[in-house]
């Protein structure tokens, strides 16, 4: 029952908050209630359920990995929903927003608890297409453009996903997602199927080179929507990957290396482009790309073999948990500086700072812990260049710190209200902060096996207070802080002239190259395309030829004169004799 409520309540919430005035007024509360089953499932142990009559026969169940993500998702949707309830209460189209929000929520929960391919795909699509409504919500030209790019990419992603699912289900011979990784490990075309999935879900994850819609779409949505987009929905792609990745079963060295390479490229490259942005939300979007790059890389590490999935995947999930809560915190935070005044601002800045640190992996934060876990795996792998990648990991920490400092800087420039006031949506924000911090750092979500694998004999408390670990977390932060201070001190033109109005690189950087290339291709093929268009717009069909003959004047003329000839007595006589002779000939 609870399993159905997980998806059913958000759908009901969507309808109720969209169409019922009372529901519209209390949408925040309703969304909290709607996400309670998901949170509950994320924390409790459920055995799963099979619903024969739903879609193509639905199975719901959870494993530790997805339980972590579900908890994350539940928390994010709940807090963002509450946030949105008051944040958007003056918005004329709040009802619409709630509708898409609820639908996307249901999709997001559903895909996490789905254990079979069809329902997974169903909820994935529901989430993807419902969040289109979130992206386009503001209706501004830039939002429309972002939404269009989002939609195109989403459809491309769906196509890859469905083809990957077709092949995977066929080779697994079962609809259960759990059967896919072993089947891929066995199948001769397993790596091909995995690559299809990689591309398909890569769109959602924002992996290189499919990320360019992300810096457009995530910032275009209202803050609570951005929070779930970047915090929760982006993780759906990761979950998709996890369903396909036969971790611990194969040793796909080249795919592994490719993923690690691309992951780190994203982790570092996104930082550079993100630094050139002027919109805090775009900045965050690039940060998301960067962070997802790291997760990509660690999943890639798993494909190199030697690491059991039961250990690696929860670790990645926890990393995602940390990133998700913190990123959502920051995204929601973008709405705060303009609204929060007076003493409350201290709390706000503290929260934002914590969020930044958590993502950058600062000392005493969940970020440190999650990053450490993954580092353990990287350290123990036999992937070529593992040491180099470890170094890059540290660089990425510096990069992230820089990027998020820039984010704070951008927020800082927003004019604060003069009065000492606090909006209602400050509460969910704080709740999120607490919940995120608590569950990232508590060992409750992880298995004892994993804990001991990472930490050995020592407990997590020891880990956090161990100077060495803190130092390893601290030095990238210190380097960042140092370089920032240096930049200020030197009053380098570099910092002052760092773009404030227009981004150095337009959001969605890579998109423009694609569009340019596409434009050139179109121009090159213009003649062909216009030909195709005129061909397709005109009507061609078989009857044209037929009518051409039938309706032609000459046809009529010839036929009539032939018949007039046949009516003449002479011709009849000739016919008589010909007939006579032929019959005579035939009868002889």
């Amino acid at each position: 029952m609870i399993w159905i409520l997980v998806i059913f309540l958000p759908l009901m919430a969507a309808l109720f908050t969209a169409f019922n005035p009372a529901g519209k007024r209390r949408s925040g509360l309703i969304f909290i209630i709607a996400s309670l089953p998901a949170i509950w499932l994320g924390l409790a142990d459920g055995t799963g359920v099979t619903i024969d009559w739903l879609i193509l026969g639905t199975h719901f169940s959870l494993d530790p990995t997805r339980r972590i993500i579900l908890l994350l998702t539940g928390i994010l949707w709940a807090t963002s929903g509450l946030f949105a309830g008051s944040y958007l209460k003056d918005d004329a189209r709040q009802g619409e927003f709630s509708f898409y929000y609820g639908a996307a929520m249901s999709g997001n929960f559903g895909l996490l608890i789905s254990a079979d391919a069809a329902s997974f795909y169903t909820f994935f699509a529901l989430m993807t297409f419902a969040s289109y409504g979130l992206v386009i919500h503001s209706g501004t030209p830039s939002a429309r453009k972002a939404a269009r790019v989002y939609l195109v990419m989403a459809i491309i992603g769906e196509l890859f996903i469905i083809s990957a699912l077709f092949l995977a289900v066929q080779s697994a011979g079962s609809m259960l997602l759990a059967d896919i990784p072993p089947a891929l490990a066995e199948a001769p075309n397993g790596s091909f199927i995995f690559l299809l999935g990689l591309i398909g879900f890569g769109v959602k994850v924002g992996a290189i080179p499919l990320y360019f819609w992300l810096p457009l779409a995530h910032p275009a949505a209202p803050a609570p929507a951005s929070a779930v987009l970047s915090g929760a929905m982006i993780k759906a792609g990761l979950v998709g990957w996890m369903h396909f990745a036969p971790i611990g079963l194969v040793e796909w060295h080249s795919i592994s290396l490719m993923m690690v390479g691309l992951g780190f490229a994203a982790a570092l490259g996104a930082v550079i482009i993100g630094l050139a942005q002027v919109d805090p939300k775009t900045n965050l979007a690039y940060s998301s790309i960067s962070q997802m790059g790291l997760m990509t890389a660690f999943l890639g590490v798993g494909l190199n073999g030697g690491i059991p999935a039961e250990l690696l995947l929860p670790a990645i999930a926890l990393y995602a948990f940390n990133h998700g809560t913190a990123k959502a915190l920051l995204f929601l935070g973008t709405a705060l500086p303009a609204k929060v005044g007076g003493a409350w601002r201290i709390l706000m800045w503290a929260g934002l700072g914590l969020g930044v640190l958590a993502i950058a992996g600062g000392p005493l934060t969940g970020g440190l812990w999650t990053k450490y876990m993954l580092k353990t795996f990287l350290g123990k792998t036999n992937l070529p260049g593992a040491q180099f990648f470890l170094l890059l990991l540290s660089f990425s920490a510096i990069g992230t710190a820089l990027l998020l400092s820039r984010f704070l800087h951008l927020l800082y420039r927003i004019e604060a209200p003069v009065v000492n006031k606090v909006p209602a949506f400050f509460l969910p924000w704080i709740l999120l902060l607490i919940a995120g911090g608590w569950w990232t750092m508590s060992p409750a979500l992880l298995s004892a096996e994993l804990m001991s694998h990472v930490l050995g004999e020592k407990g997590i408390i020891t880990f956090f207070w161990h100077p060495l670990t803190n130092w390893s977390a601290l030095w990238p932060i210190l380097i960042t802080a140092g370089s920032l201070v240096m930049a200020f001190l030197l009053k380098l033109a570099f910092v002052n002239r760092w773009p404030g109005e227009k981004p150095l690189v337009p959001p969605g950087d890579f998109l423009y190259i694609i569009l340019l290339a596409g434009y050139m291709v179109v121009k090159f093929l213009q003649k062909g395309i216009s030909l195709l268009q005129s061909f397709m717009q005109s009507r061609h069909s078989a009857e044209k030829i037929f009518y051409g003959i039938l309706d032609d004047k000459r046809t009529l003329q010839i036929s009539t004169s032939a018949e007039a000839l046949l009516r003449r007595w002479e011709i009849v006589g000739i016919g008589f004799f010909i007939f006579f002779l032929t019959l005579f000939f035939f009868l002889r």
Binding site: L54, I55, G133, Q170, A542, E543
Partner: protein
């Protein structure tokens, strides 16, 4: 006569008799006409449900009437026929309601509703026909009974369209006739399901059987609008919306598709068809039609034209599924027979509602229509998503099975065709959805008043909402017992029981 045979006749009569009675009514007897129509439709649904229940509890339904010593008129019930009959009956009821609302106050309604009923009689007859000859009889009857509907508007465009419609369908019927007689001569009276007859003849008459197969296929392809015989379909769009809806969803095109299904599965049999290599050309033509129809739809601005070309494309899914061997693709083909029907009828209802309420027929005029007509466009959106193949809507289920079937048969190119078609479906349906929901209303639109209590008259609104819900439910509850999918799966499994 036995009760069960009588039931089959009653199913046919439940629309035939109202049709004839309506013809005898006076034009102004609106209430009586509507009453007869609805009564017939409800009775038909009830009877089909009765037969449905009976068939699943082991009853047999056969009606045989000898025309000539070897020429028999036979009705029988099997899973496939029952599925199609149920589809016809239910959608007829819905469309009747819609038509009553849509054509209110129009001219020549007596004629319209009479032929409307006859058309459904033909469609049900096709579903229930037990042998090739009976099928052919109803197939031609369908052509005739739809003609007055196509030209109903009665202006020159409609009449010209009717001309083209007839040339195509009569031509197709004639070709089919040739094939049916030829089959009769070669194989005798073939009842559906007796595939062993053909199988036993293959050794001796392979050439004749091959030629006959393609002759019959050509005849059926005309109604199924497979390229290059699709030309009549976009033209027949001049008909009133309920007619287009019925034509595209259950009656004409579906008769062709259903015929192809019957031909391959119940006349020639799958193993025979495959052994004789008959299916590859069908697959190629179907695949080409899918792509071609989608491409054409992509470049249209007329709402109904888009839907028409989309029908051409979608219908060939069925043919494609038939052409691929395997339980999964067969399931996909059969279930798409139903799913395409309910989704397409929803779209036509929606297009009709928009045109009837606001007079908009072009896609470029649809900006913001979703706010004005949320239920109509909501149903349309569901159907459009289904057409694209998005879960959990009916279209997804068909596509899922077709795709899996193609992979099972190792026809990977078919998967590519399906995906390309999905992409193109998205490319022409999503702009409509986008305009409806996310664009601002045009200037003249803002000042328009809403037509009444609802967004559009209730008789127009109820059907579209119903079929929209059907499309959704067929997908969401696909795995439940007695859903179209489960019946289709059962059909497929029965068919392949004979395969090694």
């Amino acid at each position: 006569m036995e009760m069960n045979s009588l039931l089959l006749i009653l199913i046919l009569f439940s629309s035939l008799v109202p049709g004839i009675l309506i013809l005898l009514l006076h034009e102004r007897q609106v209430f009586m006409r509507s009453f007869l129509n609805l009564l017939g439709a409800v009775v038909k649904v009830g009877l089909v449900a009765w037969v449905f229940a009976g068939y699943y509890s082991g009853e047999e339904y056969v009606f045989i009437f000898g025309l000539a010593p070897d020429l028999t008129f036979a009705l029988q019930v099997d899973h496939l026929g029952l599925l199609f009959a149920a589809l016809s009956a239910v959608l007829w009821l819905v469309t009747t309601i819609y038509a009553i609302g849509y054509l209110e106050g129009g001219k020549h309604l007596r004629r319209f509703f009479a032929f409307f009923s006859l058309c459904v009689t033909a469609s049900t007859g096709i579903a229930l026909s037990g042998n090739v000859v009976t099928f052919f009889v109803f197939y031609e009857f369908l052509t005739l009974s739809t003609y007055p509907l196509v030209v109903h508007r009665g202006d020159d465009i409609a009449v010209e369209a009717g001309r083209t419609y007839l040339w195509y369908t009569i031509g197709g019927g004639t070709v089919l006739f040739l094939g049916v007689v030829g089959l009769f001569v070669v194989a005798g009276p073939v009842y559906f399901g007796q595939t062993e007859i053909i199988a036993n003849l293959v050794a001796e008459n392979e050439l004749q059987l091959t030629i006959l197969f393609f002759i019959m296929l050509t005849g059926l392809a005309v109604k199924a609008a497979i390229f290059p015989f699709h030309g009549w379909l976009p033209i027949a769009m001049v008909a009133p919306a309920p007619v287009s809806a019925l034509l595209h969803a259950v009656a004409v095109v579906k008769a062709g598709a259903f015929g192809i299904v019957r031909l391959v599965y119940d006349v020639y049999g799958i193993d025979t068809s495959e052994q004789m290599n008959l299916l590859t050309p069908l697959a190629v033509f179907a695949a080409f039609t899918i792509i071609y129809g989608s491409l054409k739809a992509l470049f249209q601005d007329d709402f109904k034209k888009v839907l028409a070309y989309s029908t051409i494309s979608q219908l060939s899914y069925i043919a494609l599924g038939v052409a691929i061997t395997g339980v999964l693709s067969t399931t996909g083909a059969v279930v798409h027979l139903v799913h395409q029907g309910i989704m397409k009828i929803t779209m036509f209802f929606a297009a009709g509602n928009v045109a009837e309420t606001y007079g908009y027929k072009k896609i470029s005029q649809l900006n913001g229509i979703g706010r004005r007509m949320p239920l109509t466009m909501g149903a349309f959106t569901i159907a459009a998503f289904g057409m694209i193949g998005l879960p959990p809507i009916a279209g997804f289920v068909s596509k899922w099975y077709l795709g899996l079937g193609a992979i099972e048969a190792e026809s990977y190119w078919v998967v590519l065709v399906l995906l390309a078609s999905s992409a193109m479906n998205a490319a022409y349906f999503l702009p409509i959805v986008y305009r409806a929901w996310f664009c601002e209303e045009g200037h003249e639109m803002v000042h328009r008043r809403r037509p009444g209590r609802f967004e559009t008259p209730a008789l127009l609104l109820i059907p579209v909402v119903l079929t929209g819900l059907f499309s959704l439910a067929a997908g969401v509850f696909a795995a439940s017992a007695n859903s179209p999918l489960s019946i289709a799966r059962e059909i497929a499994e029965r068919l392949y029981l004979y395969l090694p």
